[in-house]
């Protein structure tokens, strides 16, 4: 029989190596998976992890994908540290895109520098309010926030479909379920000519830095860490559990909403039912891969973006099925959690007494 035994002093080097180890193990297991599909594993891993770094356009795409992941994961990391599990960032992302996008459409063809900030505020407010539903249900009735926030993702998806098929539909769009393309004042400025890298990349980086400072220097960050480290000590210190639940869900909701609005007003340029591509769920992996630290999350979201872009390339050059790429990302979380456990516990073989 195998037994897990807590290590008395977890080696610091091992703790630090956990994310790297997880990525390496994912490469190995992914290679085996691709080999089983009859593809050259070395080539597949190279296409996913190396090729995107060599091509300038792929590099800019990396930023386009990493930005929403960073925004959402940074928001989630506060709650995950404090033991508040928002699994529905995908839903908050959609509502953020909807409310931000709706503002853009309401002022369609109206020029003005004020429009984008207004859309951003609307997006954040939308995500915030959507996240308040699980928060209030948890505070008032003790409802599990994991289930409520997750189920609200599907509700949000249906709202998106309903609105782009109805009130927000493009009047000149032949009844296709999609909105008008946003006009220039409602579209995010591009950072580098010829790419899709938009201003949201810089904002995501700024948010990560601000979150880092908040987590380590501000009283709010202290309370988050205290609640995660010792919930009873937090209550003794006077931290209100309810206020923390609301704050953690609210922050992650607002940031997911902002990411959604950026996605709509950036790379996509309109509201369509296919807008959500799973950033809200992938961000959960990113948050843990970054060890719940804002700066680690920036790195982790770049790695995760790499698997997205490399995965797409692998899909059309090697005909690897899209599902294999999702399996690949899932493996990353699996190996991350496994190495995390093994860094804190020792595996020991014990013989059961007869």
């Amino acid at each position: 029989m195998l037994m897990l035994e807590p290590r008395t002093a977890p080696p610091a080097a091992l703790q630090a190596a956990v994310p790297v180890l997880a990525v390496v193990l994912t490469m190995i297991a992914g290679g085996i998976l691709f080999a089983a599909l009859g593809k050259n594993p070395v080539e597949a891993i190279r296409i996913i992890f190396v090729d995107p770094l060599l091509d300038p356009f792929s590099r800019s795409e990396l930023l386009v994908k990493a930005a929403p992941l960073t925004l959402i994961a940074v928001g989630l990391s506060f709650g995950f540290r404090a033991g508040v599990w928002n699994i529905g960032a995908e839903g908050q992302f959609i509502i953020g895109a909807l409310s931000g996008g709706a503002v853009g459409l309401a002022f369609w063809d109206v020029p003005g520098l004020w429009l984008l900030p207004l859309m951003a505020v609307a997006g954040m407010l939308g995500g915030f309010l959507w996240a308040m539903i699980p928060a209030i249900l948890k505070i008032r009735f003790g409802a599990n926030e994991i289930l409520v926030s997750l189920m609200l993702v599907y509700v949000a998806e249906l709202w998106l479909s309903a609105l782009v098929s109805g009130p927000l539909r493009n009047p000149a769009g032949f009844n296709f379920p999609e909105s008008r393309m946003f006009h220039d004042s409602a579209t995010l400025p591009i950072l580098l000519g010829g790419t899709r890298a938009h201003i949201g990349v810089l904002i995501a980086l700024g948010v990560a830095v601000a979150a880092y400072v908040t987590l380590h220097r501000h009283v709010f960050g202290y309370r988050v860490r205290l609640m995660g480290a010792a919930p009873r000590a937090a209550r003794f210190a006077g931290v209100s559990t309810n206020a923390m639940v609301a704050a953690c869900l609210g922050i992650s909701g607002a940031l997911a909403g902002l990411a959604g609005m950026f996605e709509a007003a950036g790379p996509v340029g309109q509201l369509v039912p296919s807008l959500p591509v799973g950033y809200g769920f992938t961000a959960i992996i990113v948050a843990f891969l970054g060890r719940l630290d804002p700066l680690g999350i920036v790195l982790a979201s770049l790695v995760m973006a790499l698997t997205y872009i490399g995965g797409e390339t692998a899909q059309f050059t090697l005909q690897i099925p899209a599902a294999a790429i999702s399996v690949f990302q899932g493996m990353l979380l699996f190996f991350l959690l496994a190495t995390e456990v093994l860094s804190r516990f020792r595996l020991r073989r014990v013989r059961r007494a007869a």
Partner: protein
């Protein structure tokens, strides 16, 4: 005399600390051997090594002349070494028998186990019903479960870590009879305690540790408690001076509070009233589980009550949370150091911030002031002689007594109007306990009202001016310290107080 357990040259170092250095001692069959030392002297490391929880860097151990190298507690138990820990590891929602079975590698069937528990319990005068829920047992009875669990393995060496800190005087007597009986049957007992009088009456020999080394060996019965304490700390003890107490103006008043238990294993507080005056040290005696936790939470603000139930200097504070109460000067230090009074995974600096934020102005516009916070933590460490490599060290890495000094010191340094402490010296060595008690008295001398909840009667007799007994969620009327003998108080703690002190008995000092 051939030794049953002999320790030769045992050495263990941790980063920055030499926990044990070249330890030698022997324990004969049938001997009750005391291990004495301050916090951080290396007692815990030593017994953990013997119990197989710690692997030594150097040195050998022998049981019955054969070399003994336990690779874990299971191996230790197989070699006949058992240990009763200071903190129990029992599941409240399970029965006694189920708890015992969980600790066995190969438990027998239900009926057989029940019978064996009864047999062992009766043979050693430890009455115990295998079918009762542990949650319903008193602390003394829970300890019996732990002891019976050990005895079922027929140990030859039994390690007891601070077994009496949670017992009433009567329960201590029963425990000592059991231990003497075991010794007469040839079991060697390694006994750790800070209560020197106990060691003098119970133990045959004592090994005294200081800073990880053996500094003396003696027969405790031939020494006075004071001599033992001085050997332990290597210098002369200062006791707090008895002080004439003149009651001041009322500071904190709790009015007729009734509070239903929150959990099935909690205690309901019934019509609890009390009054604390300036300069008063009020002791609340009682065996754990009689409402201490609940009362503590009401006072700290973790449990909120109606505003007018709790009044601090004419301000109704019952409905306020801990932060606001701290602002008005009501500070507290709960019993459980790790996880409640302090967060184990955070540094001492961060733990200083935990309660010190408002009163010490450790933040500005929501941002933590790192230098000021570090200074505050260092000041606590210096004044209360907290032994730690640095202020950045995690709370978890400190020994229990040192963390306790830090937790109490953190509150005292904030100059409270009222300080509430629960078990201020539990598991703390004589020297540290004296430091804490003196600090509490000094605080009272400056006009602070101090409320001490404790199970240690000697402690309450030493530091409190007045005291009440908490039993079954009821608080007795206050008595002037010294008006009752320890035995009489022990009986009150055991639940026979109703005829002695009525609710409207006059204050003894009035």
């Amino acid at each position: 005399m051939s030794a049953l357990l002999s320790i030769r040259g045992l050495t263990k170092s941790y980063p920055g600390v030499l926990a044990n250095s070249d330890i030698h001692f022997e324990v004969a069959p049938g001997e009750i051997h005391a291990l004495l030392g301050e916090n951080g002297a290396g007692k815990s490391t030593l017994v953990k090594t013997i119990y197989g929880l710690v692997t030594p860097d150097k040195g050998e151990m022998y049981v019955d002349g054969t070399q003994y190298e336990p690779r874990g507690p299971q191996a230790a138990r197989a070699a006949g070494v058992s240990m009763v820990f200071q903190h129990f590891s029992l599941f409240e929602a399970l029965s006694v028998a189920e708890n015992v079975a969980l600790g066995m590698t190969d438990p027998p069937g239900r009926t057989e186990l029940g019978q064996r528990i009864r047999d062992v319990a009766n043979a050693y005068g430890l009455p115990l019903d295998p079918d009762r829920l542990v949650g319903d047992l008193s602390v003394g009875e829970r300890q019996r479960v732990e002891i019976v669990r050990c005895l079922l393995q027929s140990p030859r060496i039994l390690i007891m870590d601070e077994p009496t800190s949670v017992l009433t005087p009567q329960e201590v007597d029963t425990l000592f009879q059991t231990l003497r009986q075991l010794a007469s049957e040839g079991v060697a007992i390694l006994y750790i305690s800070h209560k020197l009088e106990e060691i003098r009456s119970l133990c045959d020999r004592a090994t005294i540790l200081r800073s990880g080394r053996v500094v003396a060996e003696c027969r405790p019965a031939e020494k006075t408690a004071r001599q033992l304490a001085e050997m332990m700390i290597g210098l002369e003890l200062t006791r707090p001076l008895p002080r004439l107490f003149s009651p001041g103006t009322p500071l904190l008043r709790l009015r007729d509070l009734t509070l239903p238990a929150e959990t099935p294993f909690g205690t309901t507080l019934k019509n609890v009233s009390m009054e604390l005056r300036t300069g008063e040290v009020l002791g609340i005696a009682g065996v754990a589980g009689n409402g201490q936790e609940e009362l503590m939470r009401v006072l700290s603000g973790e449990t909120r009550v109606d505003a007018d139930k709790l009044v601090l200097e004419s301000r109704q504070i019952g409905a306020m949370g801990p932060t606001e109460r701290r602002q008005y000067g009501l500070l507290s230090a709960p019993e459980e150091r790790l996880g409640h009074a302090a967060a184990g995974d955070m540094s001492l600096i961060e733990n200083a911030f935990l309660t010190g934020n408002r009163r010490q102005r450790l933040s500005y516009r929501g941002f933590i002031k790192p230098a000021t916070t570090t200074n505050f933590a260092r000041a606590v460490i210096r004044r209360f002689d907290v032994r730690t490599p640095s202020a950045e060290t995690k709370a978890r890495a400190l020994s229990g007594g040192n963390l306790q000094k830090f937790v109490i010191g953190r509150e005292i340094m904030q100059r409270p109007r009222v300080l509430v402490v629960n078990q201020p010296t539990w598991g703390v060595d004589a020297h540290a306990a004296a430091t804490i008690r003196t600090a509490l008295r000094d605080l009272a001398a400056e006009g602070t009202g101090v409320l001490v909840i404790s199970q240690d009667l000697d402690e309450l007799m030493e530091i409190s001016d007045t005291f009440s007994v908490l039993e079954g969620g009821r608080l007795s009327a206050p008595q002037r310290t010294g008006s009752l003998t320890i035995d009489e108080i022990g009986l009150m703690m055991g639940g026979s107080m109703k005829d002695q002190t009525g609710k409207d008995a006059p204050r003894a000092d009035a």
